[in-house]
Amino acid sequence: MKRSAIRPSIPERSDDPLVEVSLVVNGQPIKRTVSVRMLLSDFLRHELGLTGTHVGCEHGVCGCCTVHIDGKAGRSCLTLAVQANGCAIRTIEDVASEDGALHPVQQAFKECHALQCGFCTPGMVMNVLSRFEEREPLDLSEAGIRDLLSGNLCRCTGYINIIAAVRRAAELLGRG
């Protein structure tokens, strides 16, 4: 009996409506024509090659894809790229200095061993960073830090060292 040939079933042409998206990513103006259903997380990773933004759950629970949208932390998997039209996006790639010197929040994560596999770390750093950059008062008690981190899941290190890192970051930033 003759076996049928293995053939990919990918259509040659996509029916996706396209849209032009212009935005500023890490200070750089970007213009791309993409599918209207492309998520901002996929836009950053696939269109721009910024793979520091991680994709975990794709429904807003894990927090790994957190980036800054117009200066505020947001889930890039719950934002369509086209929704970010005209916005300024900042990703983890923009946090350390160009010479490679770590930002105090990154330095604190390093010093406190606040990561193991590192998958959740970009989202953690972007979330924590946005809260330090916000002018609102921060509750730096253990309960307050746990609350601050409650939208980011870590599945290996556990949270003890991450909480210590937030406290250390506050010291380094003069917010302790």
Partner: protein, 292 residues
């Protein structure tokens, strides 16, 4: 975990937005997307057309008009939570919003979007039912105002017609001398509530409760005013024996069947516990003249 195919429009005027929405019976309104985009990623929602209202003129910001706080359609949760005027005029709002998901979600999600999504476990619909907030929708036939009691109809279902856009929602300023409290029980802070409870009350000179309002989420297919409990507490001192009696009147309000999160009987116990815990907090705040 990618959304299905759809068309996308981003009108600049309300007139265009209404016309585009009315042109397609399977079109949906996109505001912050914090409920709709995950629903689309799961393919629970598959609109043929998304009408993104973020660029529509006149839908941003918060205004204080007389005794009302006006929340326009594109107001993000976090904006309302941090607004200093709102914190002064109705501190229950910020207290409740601490429980709405997490800050990165509140930075993007809109208050009006949460109302239109109408999850029966969500906090903002509860707040509107508790305070008799109003919702203003515009459609091809004009503008209408909808009372919260009429707006929330069932699980993820409101009285907004498919071709209507909610342009603003209004919450009252808390009356002088009133006490308030909100809390909820969740498995993890920021998750949807197993049971949430909001309370507003006043005390007369003798310390007796009057004008108490109680509303709960997570117990039914929509947020519920606990009128039997209110009736049992009005005119009474908010002491533990009266509270225990009144809390028993909350049993029938819990109609949510056992589900993967918890059982009906546990929800009943939690609701009773929240009533007995929060009414004294609200009463203490009323005594302290919290809003002066």
């Amino acid at each position: 975990m990618k959304p299905p195919l759809f068309r996308y429009e981003a009108p600049r005027t309300l007139r265009d937005a209404v016309a585009i929405l009315a042109s397609d019976a399977d079109a949906m309104v996109l505001a912050g997307g914090q409920s709709l985009v995950p629903a689309m990623n799961f393919r629970v929602a598959a609109p043929s057309l998304l009408v993104d209202i973020q660029h529509v003129e006149g839908l941003k910001g918060i205004a204080i008009e007389g005794n009302e706080i006006v929340i326009r359609a594109m107001t993000r949760h976090r904006e309302l939570e941090l607004d200093s005027r709102v914190r002064r005029l109705n501190p229950l709002i910020a207290e409740t919003m601490q429980h709405v998901a997490h800050v990165p979600i509140r930075n993007r999600g809109t208050v009006v979007g949460s109302l239109c999504h109408a999850d029966p476990s969500a906090e903002m619909p509860l707040l509107f039912v508790l305070l008799d907030g109003t919702i203003t929708a515009i459609g091809p036939d004009g503008t209408r105002e909808i009372a919260s009691a009429d707006f929330f109809q069932s699980f993820l279902t409101t009285s907004r017609c498919q071709d209507e856009i909610v342009i603003e929602a209004r919450l009252p300023v808390l009356p002088d001398g009133s006490g308030f409290a909100f809390d909820e029980v969740t498995r993890r802070h920021g998750d949807y509530a197993l049971v949430g409870l909001g309370c507003v009350l006043s005390l007369n000179d003798g310390g007796h409760v009057h004008d108490i309002r109680l509303a709960a989420c997570g117990i039914s297919d929509r947020p519920v005013r606990l009128r039997a409990v209110e009736a049992a507490l009005n005119g009474k001192l908010p002491d533990s024996s009266e509270l225990a009696i009144a809390a028993r009147a909350s049993v029938d309000a819990v109609t949510q069947a056992d589900d993967m999160n918890t059982s009906m009987s546990y929800r009943r116990r939690v609701l009773s516990g929240l009533i007995q815990r929060l009414v004294p907090i609200a009463a203490a705040r009323a005594r302290a003249g919290y809003r002066q």
